[in-house]
């Protein structure tokens, strides 16, 4: 039994394992994320990035190990999982906005239904968030009227709405037209400046290098590297790590 995380550690993974049948996807993965830290989770496809994100968000159950969100062991089956999920904001690769709800209802849903704010209060907050990204004039549109980049920025607003302790960004630019990637990444950079704590799985290497405080590199379900962008991306002595980053340059 590991002791609970210290005050400023927002997320701690401790020996997390996940298997699908005989296939071990995560093999004793351990790392911490401190408050206001931006950690980029990198690795080739199939290295376990997505599974790790799903375990942190309790969409998948771990097979061993613990995940601490501040002082809560969220892998403890006795906790209220809905409440734990509500403390984490998640943005998905495919946006996953609710197509039958307007932008405003998408953004306010959790505040109204989970946190029980009244509608006026929730809408006021949502409008100020939308205004910050210049989307307030689209508040009453349905998601199918927006571009991919706009949908993804709305999805980020939805995740931010209830001020989560941790933001999980799961390859949020992978489904976007290259021209729209910039507008979404700018928004992430802005969140970092405002002090958000972020774990992001991404293939945007130059963005990870620029925006992340730390890089966690997964390989075959284990942590291959865990350090600053310079240490991991530029100065690693590991040949496999060098080969991985070279593949993005060519």
């Amino acid at each position: 039994m590991s002791e609970s995380a210290s005050a400023e550690t927002v997320l701690r993974l401790d020996g997390v394992c996940k298997r699908f049948g005989s296939n071990t996807v995560l093999d004793h993965v351990s790392f911490d994320i401190k408050q206001h830290e931006v950690v980029a989770l990198l690795g080739p496809s199939g290295s376990g990035k997505s599974t790790l994100m799903k375990c942190v968000n309790l969409l998948e159950q771990v097979d061993d190990g613990q995940i601490w969100l501040s002082d809560t062991d969220i892998t403890d089956p006795r906790i209220n999982m809905d409440r734990a999920r509500a403390r984490i904001g998640v943005v998905f690769q495919q946006f996953n906005l609710f197509p039958h709800m307007t932008v405003l209802n998408n953004v306010t849903l959790a505040a109204r239904k989970v946190f029980k704010w009244d509608r006026a209060q929730a809408e006021k907050k949502a409008m100020s968030l939308l205004k910050r990204i210049g989307m307030d004039h689209k508040a009453n549109e349905y998601p199918d009227r927006l571009s991919g980049g706009q949908q993804q920025r709305v999805a980020i607003c939805r995740a931010l709405m209830t001020e989560p302790e941790l933001l999980l960004l799961d390859e949020i630019t992978s489904a976007l037209d290259p021209l729209l990637v910039g507008e979404v990444l700018d928004m992430v950079a802005e969140l970092k400046d405002q002090g958000a704590t972020i774990l992001m799985a991404t293939h945007e290497m130059s963005f990870a290098h620029k925006a992340a405080d730390r890089i966690v590199l997964l390989r075959h379900g284990t942590i291959a590297e865990n350090g600053t962008p310079e240490d991991v991306m530029d100065n690693s002595s590991d040949p496999e790590t060098q080969a991985f980053f070279r593949s993005y340059h060519s």
């Binding site: 969409l59 809905d82 409440r83 999920r85 609710f98 197509p99 039958h100």
Partner: protein, 285 residues
């Protein structure tokens, strides 16, 4: 585009437009001509068949039509009442069956088995047999005294249609992409809230055409309660036929059923077309 201020059209485009206009006028004329020829052939064939005067007299007699209309219309009111009650019953029972079938919790296991068995068996039994089983079987038990055949008929319609509707609903619930559920749960919504606020509204939009189609088919199947002796439109027509040996009352009943269903058929067509055009513009719902 409406932001063009000065529209200049080249000669080539003008010539193309003129050609297209000519083509479309020609196709309208062609379809009118072919329709007239078709109607003419059918009318010619009917009026020249040796038995036509007799068929006309026994199915399309104006006199018997007028005579049967009031009773058959009266009977249709019973069909309408049965239909309203049956729709509510089917929504409740079908919805419950569908929800039971998509649960995964261990406690619900026996109910899941029952629901599965029910939908499988019920969809296999001919509607008429269900009517007989309920309509003659339940009174045979002698538990409730005399039960109005219209009520027994309604129960049979509800039981039979619930099985179909449950499967349509279940397919709809499962058709909503799992990422929608993931997205809702990750916001902290409970599984009940996710179902109510995210899954069901999207599923209903997707399956609305199928549901409306079943509703239209139910509209005419409520006419089957006549087999239990309830005096509905079909039964009223039967009585009139038995009195006069003229089949026009059946045509009266058919026309009334058609009038009843046409608004819903048009509504269904309109809604399906709307969904299709929305899908073309890239929407998911």
């Amino acid at each position: 585009m409406n932001d063009c201020t000065t529209v200049t059209t080249s000669d080539i485009e003008l010539e193309r437009q003129a050609y297209r206009k000519k083509q479309s006028i020609r196709s309208v004329l062609t379809s009118i001509a072919s329709s007239l020829i078709f109607v003419g052939l059918v009318a010619f064939g009917l009026s020249n068949s040796p038995g036509w005067p007799r068929v006309q007299e026994s199915f399309f007699s104006a006199e018997y039509f007028a005579q049967a209309w009031p009773q058959v219309l009266d009977g249709l009111m019973l069909n309408l009442r049965v239909l309203v009650v049956a729709v509510i019953g089917v929504a409740v029972l079908g919805g419950a069956l569908a929800l039971i079938r998509i649960t995964t919790s261990a406690v619900m296991f026996p109910l899941r088995v029952v629901a599965r068995f029910y939908t499988t068996v019920m969809r296999g039994i001919p509607m008429l047999v269900v009517l007989y089983l309920i309509g003659f079987g339940i009174p045979g038990l002698g538990l409730f005294g005399r039960v109005d055949p219209a009520i027994l008929g309604t129960v049979a319609v509800v039981m039979s249609y619930s099985a179909y509707i449950a499967e349509v609903l279940r397919a709809g619930f499962q058709d909503v992409h799992p990422s929608q559920r993931a997205s809702a749960r990750s916001l902290g919504l409970t599984s009940g809230q996710t179902m109510r606020l995210v899954i069901i509204p999207q599923a209903l939009r997707k399956i609305a055409p199928a549901l409306m189609n079943d509703f239209i088919s139910m509209q005419k199947d409520v006419g089957l309660i006549s087999t239990l002796g309830a005096v509905d439109a079909v039964r009223a027509a039967q009585i009139a036929v038995a009195k006069t040996y003229n089949f026009t009352p059946y045509v009266v009943a058919s026309i009334l059923f058609i009038l009843l269903s046409v608004p819903f058929i048009l509504l269904n067509d309109w809604y399906t077309a709307k969904l299709r055009s929305r899908e073309r513009t890239g929407g998911l719902v």
